[in-house]
Symmetry: C2
Subunit: 339 residues, 2 copies
């Protein structure tokens, strides 16, 4: 009889999450009831939005202390009483931080097409890449020749945004932390310029690298970097509010962008979005991204953390920037290995 | 030989402008050169944007120390070498804080149609009313049944916004300072609710008066009031960034709206605009506003400060809220009166 390890929220984190905010519990492996599916998790997607889910009600209800931490992930159907999902299918959905997920077929659970690496189903072909695609094209609406600036540019979503901007004929400037990431942006991903926010004056470098101002600012980080960008907008600029990772660990000390007043003089707008709203266009997005990946125009990489028990530590790495591209946890299933 | 009194900027104000930031000088009344026009000023329009003009380059170059303070106003053509402007015409334009303006016919100088009170050409039929009209309809895009909230609601622009929202079939809630202004909003202007930011908890009152959230927030003030509104947006809300009068006197201590992150969960946008961009649609705007004024659906009022020398004091009254509706300076022309 196999077991199911689960990482549950023990208490709401204050600031940066610590290991004691979570607990690893073990229960019996679930059996599917009528209409239900059991998924054996392979990879968990470690995303900034998890920090919000475990803190408060957002666009989804908060995860309560005692509950399994909500998380996107990929896995394999190992038992099914559901018409559409058969044993052996590889699927993507909100599987949670656990070895096995019991899903009722009502929550979105999507098959992963043959030929797609399951890790890419969480990355470039998953919510990460689709966030970049819909946020940039539908909210940012860049026009060839314009300048697109992206923060968190070496991250999973940001790195796709910068490369998509180039594909669309724009100048692309990325903001990231550290010389290594900045070299990656210009030398590997082909961006026109990179700004190292840890070592450089972001405002001065934005003026130098964007002489005509910023037409589209795709923001993943918030804080003073957003403020510097707001001060250097081109006329009728679009600021895509995708995330604010610099702010998620301490909302009470959140940094409000003082330069939002510049939206008036620049006749500019800031707009937020959630990729979930584009669910009926996900196929369109993947169809646009797939050939670009095949042609080598969308490079992407991932950092894989081994072991379910490391999920809390992996979440911290999102905020310290100590990872490259898409951050994943590989679920290790030691019980199965020992069996 | 008559003279021309002029209020010049002496130095850039720090914080709230004081009288010593300006100086009253006297020169000869100008004579028109080829193509030029001399306008005898009747009323000056005291607007928040003047605080920006005397401080720094904005959407227009900064007024430099030693120069006459830039200001909209109405006056009468008293000498003309220009084809389109004849002596006796009443006109509207950027006439400056002075008795007589020498204009070259290149700067916008618009005739005031017969039957329009020249004060209204600066108010409900001027930039004030047109700012309300285009900002609300073109940026806010309210739909009948939605809730529109306006800050600075008893002010010149805000009071038109609230009434226009009612005309468009929306619920209208105004935020203003003091019980008298709040009574004016609900009892005179017909708004559905008013919030006294000086005496009430704005966030709590927004929740109480807008149970379905705020669909359109028309912001004239910025600061913590904007933040409270951002926290209570309805899905796909539009925040019209018209002004930030609470912020203009000390940009270094400006308050950035921390709750802008809520734009993500609400899929909402903040957008700035300048009424100058709608110059080619001003006639449309006046045609829409005029019948509403005639039908008594757009009430408006003004506070008239007597005397050119009082212009700096009038500017301060904008920021203390010690005025009702449109704030004007009546140019007194004592030299002419004495002649």
């Amino acid at each position: 009889m196999s077991t199911n390890r689960q990482v549950r929220l023990r208490r709401r984190p204050e600031g940066m999450p610590v290991d004691d905010d979570f607990e690893l519990t073990t229960t019996a492996r679930p059996e599917p009831g009528p209409g239900q599916v059991v998924v054996k998790n392979l990879y968990l997607s470690i995303d900034p939005t998890i920090r919000g889910w475990i803190d408060r009600d957002t666009y989804l209800p908060a995860v309560k202390p005692g509950e399994v931490v909500r998380s996107a992930g990929v896995g394999e159907v190992v038992a099914s009483n559901h018409d559409r999902h058969r044993v052996g299918d590889r699927v993507f959905g909100l599987v949670g931080w656990q070895d096995f997920a019991l899903l009722d077929g009502k929550a979105p659970l999507n098959p992963i097409p043959p030929g797609i690496d399951p890790r890419d189903a969480l990355g470039v072909f998953g919510v990460t890449g689709l966030t970049a695609y819909f946020g940039l094209t539908d909210i940012g609406k860049p026009v060839a020749g314009e300048t697109v600036v992206v923060s968190g540019a070496a991250g999973a979503t940001g790195s796709i945004v910068g490369q998509l901007a180039k594909v669309l004929g724009c100048r692309a400037v990325g903001i990231a932390g550290g010389a290594t990431k900045c070299r990656y942006l210009t030398e590997e991903l082909g961006l026109d310029a990179a700004i190292d926010y840890k070592a450089e004056d972001v405002a001065a470098r934005l003026r130098a690298t964007c002489p005509d101002g910023i037409h589209v600012f795709f923001d993943n980080v918030g804080g003073p970097i957003l403020d510097a960008a707001l001060a250097h907008l081109a006329m009728r600029a679009r600021v895509v509010v995708c995330g604010a990772i610099s702010q998620y660990n301490d909302l009470s000390a959140a940094y409000g962008p003082k330069n939002y007043v510049n939206l008036i003089a620049r006749r500019a707008r800031m707009e937020g979005f959630l990729v979930l709203d584009y669910a009926d266009r996900f196929v369109e997005g993947v169809m646009r991204l797939a050939p670009l990946v095949a042609q080598g125009k969308l490079k992407h990489r991932s950092t894989v953390v081994e072991g379910l028990a490391q999920a809390p530590a992996a979440l911290r790495r999102l905020f310290t920037g100590d990872h490259e591209g898409k951050l994943l946890v590989k679920v290790d299933h030691p019980a199965a290995a020992a069996a």
